[in-house]
């Protein structure tokens, strides 16, 4: 399910989607967390790139990830990253160890920031920012 933000106009920084990352953002729009998976050595790769970081193979295939992970670390931002985030404070920026292996940055949403802990299990959820961009965020499930 994709959560539609009720803001009038989205004014936070947005990714400029390039050819390497397009399938990732296309997946997010469809509510799928897509990761690159190396057909030669089996490594999972994030963020999107042209060669496998482990074996330099070009055969990186897009696969849907489980969307599950564990919080490796986080910070609670009491001061915003520019005026566009002013209405969000305090917000949590976390590093999530995805079940498949890669570590990904995102926000933890739907929880009191002070209740967030390292080691908590999380699952991806999607927030539509604009017609083109939907951001993967995470909810605590344990």
């Amino acid at each position: 399910m994709i959560y539609q933000r009720d803001t009038m106009a989205y004014d936070k920084p947005l990714p400029v989607i390039d050819n390497e990352s397009r399938p990732f953002w296309d997946g997010c729009r469809e509510g799928k967390l897509m990761l690159q998976h190396c057909a030669e050595c089996g490594a999972w790769v994030f963020y999107p790139r042209v060669l496998c970081t482990a074996c330099h193979s070009e055969r990186l295939e897009w696969e849907e990830a489980s969307g599950e992970g564990v919080i490796h670390s986080f910070t609670i931002c009491h001061r915003p990253a520019g005026p566009a985030f002013a209405g969000e404070t305090p917000y949590v920026v976390a590093l999530i160890d995805l079940k498949e292996g890669p570590r990904m940055m995102s926000n933890i949403v739907g929880a009191d920031p002070e209740s967030v802990r390292i080691g908590q299990s999380v699952r991806v959820t999607f927030e539509k920012a604009t017609e083109e961009v939907t951001l993967p965020k995470f909810k605590v499930i344990s």
Binding site: K12, P13, L14, P15, V16, D18, S21, F46, Y47, T53, A54, H72, S73, F74, T75, I76, C77, H78, R79, P80, A81, G82, P83, F85, E88, P90, Y91, V93, A94, L95, P102, R103, M104, M105, S106, N107, I118, A129, V133, L135, K137
Partner: protein, 431 residues
């Protein structure tokens, strides 16, 4: 992955770990010197351009080195779209350059550029290099990164971070700090002692912007910026320029000030996955873990022989993490090391005796090198009275408003920080 080669080889009488050893030839040890240092006033609102500030700082460093425009023929600077390039500063000072380069970067640049200066002099490109950093870090481009720096569109390495509100330095580093507390039980009280120590040092530094001594309670009672960082865990923002002059040791012997030799340099050493350092765990280990294997062997000494450290204090935590990973204490014991009195003036190994970036002023690292040079000369610019020979008569009384010269300082180490994944370092010694 290629198998790592671990056989030993002999070169210049020294044993290297393997053929891929990145350390510089050991014969440059003590062959180069920092002959001059200088800076402008540290201020909040300089009312001057970075060109004016840079010109003043380089002039001051040249005077300190006893050099004329014709003596300087190389120039290096670092900045992040917020400064003036070397040819303008050189032009304003009547210097004709045989070499210059302006590189992108902030913290960790000073030591790396000293290494480049040594390299280009060694290669015969020029004879003496002035290195400067000129910035209006308060009145123009604020280093916190949430002002002018938040405007550019999100591309490249920021594709998967900026959209989540990850932008300012404190936000970028705090996950590392949080994980260190989790992995090793480091407490906010321990880390606050870095600010306490540096504020004591600043109280004996007439140049310091924040000379007031603070307590652990002051730090913990200041508001949260990005957890676990309180306001007082964060460095200050200021307008200033700083400069140093690097030349061959034999040339520096002719300069008026006591000789300070460059023992060893490590420049912008990176953790694996330098594109996104936090992708490589454990994130509570920083670049110093790798840089130490270049720094200490090149210097021919270890952390135990260092009298003063200049561990970069963009935040209280950055000082701690680096001291730990460069081996000044056991990994994980940084909280104890920074809070047991060791890093304070009068302690075993004071850190940032000027007050550093937390209290003196923010210079992206160069002021910490300037401070260590003055310490090794025995010329810390505190309030101690001058004797009949014009030299300051240090009292070694470190009470408020007093001395900040470390007694018999012979060896210093600067530990520069860019991000958790990138750092530089330099060992200096009294000539």
């Amino acid at each position: 992955m290629p198998e790592e080669r671990t056989y030993l080889i002999e070169r210049n009488g020294l044993t290297l770990k393997n053929e891929l050893d990145a350390s510089s030839p050991k014969f440059l040890r003590d062959r180069y010197a920092i002959a001059g240092v200088g800076e402008t006033t540290y201020s909040r609102g300089s009312g001057r351009s970075t060109r004016a500030l840079g010109t003043w700082a380089v002039r001051n460093a040249m005077r300190d080195a006893g050099m004329e425009p014709g003596d300087i023929d190389g120039m290096l600077s670092y900045s992040g779209n917020d400064s003036t390039f070397a040819p303008f500063i050189a032009g304003d000072l009547g210097i004709r350059l045989n070499f210059y380069m302006d590189v992108h970067g902030g913290g960790s640049s000073t030591e790396a550029l000293v290494g480049i200066a040594m390299g280009v002099i060694e290669a015969g490109l020029c004879k003496t290099v002035a290195i400067f950093r000129a910035m209006n870090g308060y009145s123009e481009v604020r280093i916190g990164g949430t002002g002018a720096r938040s405007a550019p569109p999100v591309t490249g390495d920021q594709l998967h971070s900026r959209a989540y509100g990850w932008q300012a330095a404190g936000q970028m580093f705090s996950q590392t700090f949080m994980r260190h507390m989790y992995d090793y039980g480091t407490t906010p009280e321990q880390v606050a002692m870095v600010k306490v120590a540096h504020s004591h040092h600043a109280s004996n530094n007439p140049k310091a912007l924040y000379p007031k001594r603070v307590t652990v309670e002051d730090v913990l009672n200041s508001r949260f910026i990005v957890k676990p960082l309180h306001l007082m865990d964060c460095c200050i923002e200021s307008d200033n320029a700083t400069a140093i002059v690097v030349t061959r040791a034999e040339r520096a012997r002719d300069c008026p000030r006591p000789l300070v030799l460059i023992r060893s340099v490590a420049g912008r050493v990176c953790k694996p996955r330098s594109d996104m350092h936090y992708q490589h765990g454990p994130i509570s280990t920083v670049a110093g873990h790798y840089a130490k294997d270049i720094l200490w062997p090149n210097a021919g000494l270890g952390p135990g022989e260092v009298d003063i450290t200049g561990s970069y204090d963009a935040f209280t935590f950055t000082t701690l993490l680096q001291l730990e990973d460069y081996g000044f204490c056991k990994k994980g014991d940084g909280g104890g090391y920074v809070s047991d009195g060791t890093i304070q003036l009068g302690g075993k190994r004071p850190n940032n005796t000027s007050g550093g970036h937390l209290c003196e002023g923010y210079t992206h690292g160069m002021s910490m090198v300037i401070e260590n040079v003055r310490q090794l000369r025995g010329e810390a610019d505190d309030s101690c009275p001058a004797g009949q020979d014009g030299k300051r008569q240090h009292t070694f009384d470190y009470s408020e408003g007093g001395c900040r010269q470390v007694k018999d300082a012979e060896i210093t180490a600067n530990l520069g920080w860019a991000i958790p994944g990138t750092g530089s370092a330099m060992v200096l010694r009294k000539g």
